[in-house]
Amino acid sequence: MKHSDEAIEKVLAGLRDVEIPAGMERRILDGLEERAARRAEAGRRWYRPVWRGVPAAYVACGVAVVGLAVVMLMVPAVRRFGHGGVQSQMGVAPVKPIPAMRSTIASRDTETVLHASDVRFAKRVDAAESGLGRAGDSAGGSEDDVALSETRAASFPAPPMPLTDQEKLLLRLAHKNDPVELAMLDPKLRELQDAEDQAEFQSFFSVPVVKQPAPEEQAQPEPTATEQAAHGESTAEKPASKQAAPAGDQAVPAPQPDEDSELKQSRAKQVKAKTITTGL
């Protein structure tokens, strides 16, 4: 048992005390550096364009084939249309700026700019035509002059740019032409409108004019209760309507309620006395 324990401990100690190889760390770091460099190289290769590895000969052949195809396509077109440069020198009707390009809501300033550009363009065309005429007179010997004048001529004015949203909003605001808003800008019309509004206000809140009873009407006897019922009037509504009407500057002052009650009482007494005498 002792021998086996010693053997076990010896083996374990041998495993434990194993000698580290000299320069192991350096070799490990060397290997790591090499591997990192390889990874970086692989990363750069990953970003490298694919066509870089294609031989230059294939690229040259491809370019030549494409150029040949372009030439073959261009030759019939050139024959069909003739000499394009001469045709332009012969004064083909110039392409004017498309009227539809002008915005319908553009201001007059924009239109004047367009007209000015048309005028300049017409002048330039006239100059070119006159130059061409001179060139024709000189038996076509001064084509270079024509070409030179063409190159020196003012270039076509660029078509007006479409209005931005902000410009469109400004135009819409400036050309709204609302009569009410325009009238509010005029001080006379504004004062007139204020006066009309004031008069309408006064007429709405003014007290209706009450008629003064005539002296003959005061002498007439007061109708009886049955007569009042027949007319559908109520004595209680009158003071209420009178109270509801506010006192205005132009209103006639209403009679005092105390005087009314005394008059009514005296008239009622007279009517009673008459009925008693007639009944007797």
Binding site: A7, I8, V11, L12, E19, M24, L32, A36
Partner: protein, 184 residues
């Protein structure tokens, strides 16, 4: 840029300086420990060094997650342990046992005693290989002095008490088998 014994580790320009320092420092600090752990499994110095190299390659691949590693020591030992077990499946450690056992015998012994001693060492290594897997792993990990029971438990994914029990059973079983072999 970090330097280890005059060596400067140059990584790609895309690597951060912190990663460079960490990697060089890790190699300097843990390479010996990892070598012993791996050597206890493969029992070959060349293979052990190769496995340690692979460990730091793995670290280089996971350098972006180094900051998330809580226990760097245990993490590295676990990587080394798994790589060593994987290497052990490809090589036959028994082929290296003879040379290792002869290296354990004292050189001042007579030849016959040295042969007997070498034979005993080979018997111990052979019986260690015959131990159950869990017991063998605990016994091999216990070889490294720097590793305590808690570290072994974390590496093997077991509780500390289980590690202690496995270590006791491994020693007992190994002793019994060696005695039985001596009796025969």
């Amino acid at each position: 840029m970090a330097s280890v014994e005059g060596f400067s580790l140059v990584l790609s320009s895309m690597e951060s300086s912190r990663t460079e320092v960490d990697l060089a420092t890790l190699v300097e600090t843990y390479s010996s420990l990892l070598f012993r752990v791996v050597h206890s499994v493969v029992r070959s110095r060349a293979e052990a060094e190769d496995v340690v190299q692979d460990v730091f390659v793995r670290v280089l691949e996971h350098r972006r997650s180094l900051a998330d590693v809580r226990e760097m020591r245990v993490w590295l030992i676990r990587i080394a342990w798994n790589l060593a077990l994987d290497r052990r499946r490809r090589i036959r450690p028994e082929q290296f046992d003879e040379g290792f056992a002869e290296g354990l015998v004292a050189r001042d012994l007579p030849v016959d005693e040295a042969l007997n001693e070498a034979r005993r060492m080979k018997a111990v290594l052979r019986e260690m290989e015959r131990l159950p897997k869990a017991e063998r792993h605990v016994l091999l990990l216990s070889v490294t002095e720097e590793l305590g029971t808690a570290d072994m438990a974390k590496v093997l994914g077991r509780s500390e008490s289980a590690v202690r029990a496995l270590l006791f059973r491994a020693r007992t079983r190994l002793r019994e088998r060696l005695e039985e072999g001596e009796k025969r």
